[in-house]
Amino acid sequence: MAAKRTTLRDRLAHAAVPLLFALLCVFGILVAHISPEFLVREMLARFSRNAVLVTALLIPILAGLGLNFGIVLGAMAGQIAAILVTYWGFSGIAAFGLAAVVAVPLAVLFGIGTGLLFNRAKGREMVTGLIAGFFANGAYQLIFLFAIGSLIPWHAKAMLLPQGFGLRNTIDLYNMQYAIDDLVKVRITLQGSQIRVPAVSIALIALVCAFNLFFQRTRLGQELRAMGQDPHVAAASGIPVDRNRLIATVLSTVFAAWGQLFFLQNIGTLNTYSSHEQVGMFAIAALLVSGATVSRATVWQALIGTLLFHTLFVVSPLAGKALAGDAQIGEFFRVFVAYAVITVALVLHAWQQARRARI
């Protein structure tokens, strides 16, 4: 009886977070008088842009690694691949496909690096991942801002800064813009204007989700789940914990690389030195908005979270403008929400962990 009541309360608590955000979104939409046409257009684009990045977080959570702040490195791998295929002059679906292939070895390498760090910093994987992202950003700058064109030969002078070395701050990816989104052109008409439906992207996102669901049922997936529940018991029962943690990190990093490619092909431009920086924060906040926690997240939560968070992201500057006459406040608000959601989730997780440790 008592157990049943807790589950009901838990379920309500889980639903409370997404419900609160849904209400916030609806409130914002009403206040800012956002038209359905604008909303549908934005949501389709933003959903197809971000969903894969968010699902990249699922496997490490299953394995008990917590929120993988190291997906920034995966995003970097995707970005490097995008830069390379642009340099090689590919375009369209060939560019995207090749980038997806080139990104894999890079992401595997970065994933192994992060995974090894995580294994050395057990119990503080999240802060290690965060700092690893910052560090990788420095290394990335070293290569792309200083080494390219000076130490590394680079023939596409148009991509370089006027000083003759270092990549420009933005790189046009028109060669692969909408390569996946418009592979099969689908348009719907709403309120007299055409809206792009990224059908193939959505299909691929579904495929990624299906893989995640399937993966949880494989032997490795079950081992990861056991590790997530109790690493000591898992180790005692013969599961190679360190190796599996490494695999989980690598998988997450590879998905993050592909996720970043989805993002870039939709956006169509690449901010060389900043596109990847906040990937981790936004993906993690989106996941947590759905009521997922540091130790439990499902595929559905990833999808719902992406939708809710990005609705809020579109709506809040407009609502801020309507309410306070200042879009800036809405922008501050959405950044605050992203950080606050992560903070609350971290506090709740650590609180429960500490309480469990005391019992």
Binding site: V127, F135, S150, L161, Q328, I342
Partner: protein
């Protein structure tokens, strides 16, 4: 140490072994960073740069940032780990500055009152923060980092909406919302820096700021020799034993966190005074990371730090940050110092996080 010595007496140590032992004593990263600094200074010397000017800048930055690094020490002493929640204290100090500026208070009174308001705000904030960290044991660093991020971004909304009306602080257009940087000219710009400042061989010494940093170091050092201070470090090094002796480590951790937050508030007021500007909005967002890196470069670990780590680390890291830009810009175009900072700072933190504790 004592376990190694008998072996060393058996066979006279070779030169290599001696060198390796020395390296271990100093710490490999500290040695590398020291050598990097020497390389930079050597380059500056070799290319006939304005050495006294460079050293003046170094000393100034060391004095300016010292207290913010010192603020991390109590947290480590109390067993809370690296206090990435430093922005909480920083925000309190900034509020102090903004309030006095809004009231047009300048000079020593303004400076003192800013620090006082900062301390007054930081005390309850630090206590609440410490209380939270007690309930989230094991994840203090992550909770601290994101709590800091949240507060800084939440305060961005506050800065735009807060009822400050002094025309020198708010945007000229619209008449509300604080500006991103407030200038301290006519208030207490460089007041401490100039106090008793003197030149020696072309190097200007910001005596006041430096002396205040030294004074606070001594005070913190003395505090950890008093009964209250010893209780804090005893509870950190052996919580169970401390509990048996009637010390609650939950209480000492709150004291340590509060102390750290208060020092951060004082630290930012000193920083602003020397910098000449108060930076609001996202400026404090990442301020904890360079400070943490300073302490770690000094040789501290996640659970162990001393005053000498604070001083050595601040001197090494701040000197590198100061010297790197002018020196490297002679060789390469572009701001290399920012990239170097990212790599050194975060590499150092990563090293400390992944170091196997003995």
């Amino acid at each position: 140490m004592s376990e190694i010595r008998p072996q060393a007496e058996e066979a006279p140590p070779t030169l290599l072994a001696k060198v390796l032992e020395q390296v271990r004593e100093i710490g490999f990263p500290r040695l590398m960073i020291g050598l990097f600094l020497l390389l930079l200074l050597g380059t500056a010397w070799g290319t006939h740069m304005d050495m006294p000017g460079l050293i003046t800048d170094c000393v100034l930055r060391i004095a300016r940032n010292g207290v913010l690094v010192l603020a991390l020490l109590p947290a480590i002493q109390g067993g809370v780990g690296l206090n990435f929640g430093l922005p909480l204290g920083i925000i309190c100090g900034l509020l102090g500055c903004v309030i006095t500026l809004n009231a047009n208070l300048g000079g020593w009174g303004g400076l003192g009152l800013s620090a006082l308001i900062g301390v007054g705000l930081a005390t309850p904030v630090g206590m609440a923060y410490g209380w939270l960290l007690n309930r989230t044991r094991g994840q203090e660093m992550m909770v601290g980092t994101y709590l800091g991020f949240s507060i800084v971004s939440g305060m961005s909304i506050f800065w735009t909406m807060a009822p400050f009306h002094n025309p020198q602080l708010v945007w000229a257009i619209g008449g509300h919302g604080l500006r991103t940087t407030l200038t301290l000219t006519n208030a207490y710009d460089r007041l401490l820096d100039k106090l008793g400042a003197f030149s020696i061989a072309g190097v200007t010494i910001p005596t006041g700021t430096l002396a205040l940093f030294a004074l606070l170091c001594i005070l913190v050092g003395l505090f950890f020799r008093t009964r209250a201070g010893l209780t804090i470090s005893a509870a950190r090094s052996n919580p169970r034993f401390a509990r048996a002796a009637g010390i609650s480590d939950a209480r000492t951790r709150i004291q340590a966190t509060t102390f750290s937050t208060v020092l951060a508030a004082i630290g930012i007021v000193i920083f602003c005074q020397s910098f000449g500007f108060v930076q609001l909005y996202t400026a404090p967002l990442l301020m904890a990371f360079p400070a943490v890196a300073c302490l770690l470069i000094g040789g501290a670990a996640v659970n162990r730090a001393t005053l000498s780590h604070v001083i050595v680390g601040t001197v090494l890291f701040q000197s590198i940050l100061t010297v790197a830009l002018p020196v490297t810009s002679q060789v390469i175009q572009g701001d290399f110092s920012e990239t170097a900072r990212l790599i050194i700072q975060n590499g150092m933190i990563l090293y400390a996080l992944t170091r196997r504790e003995r």
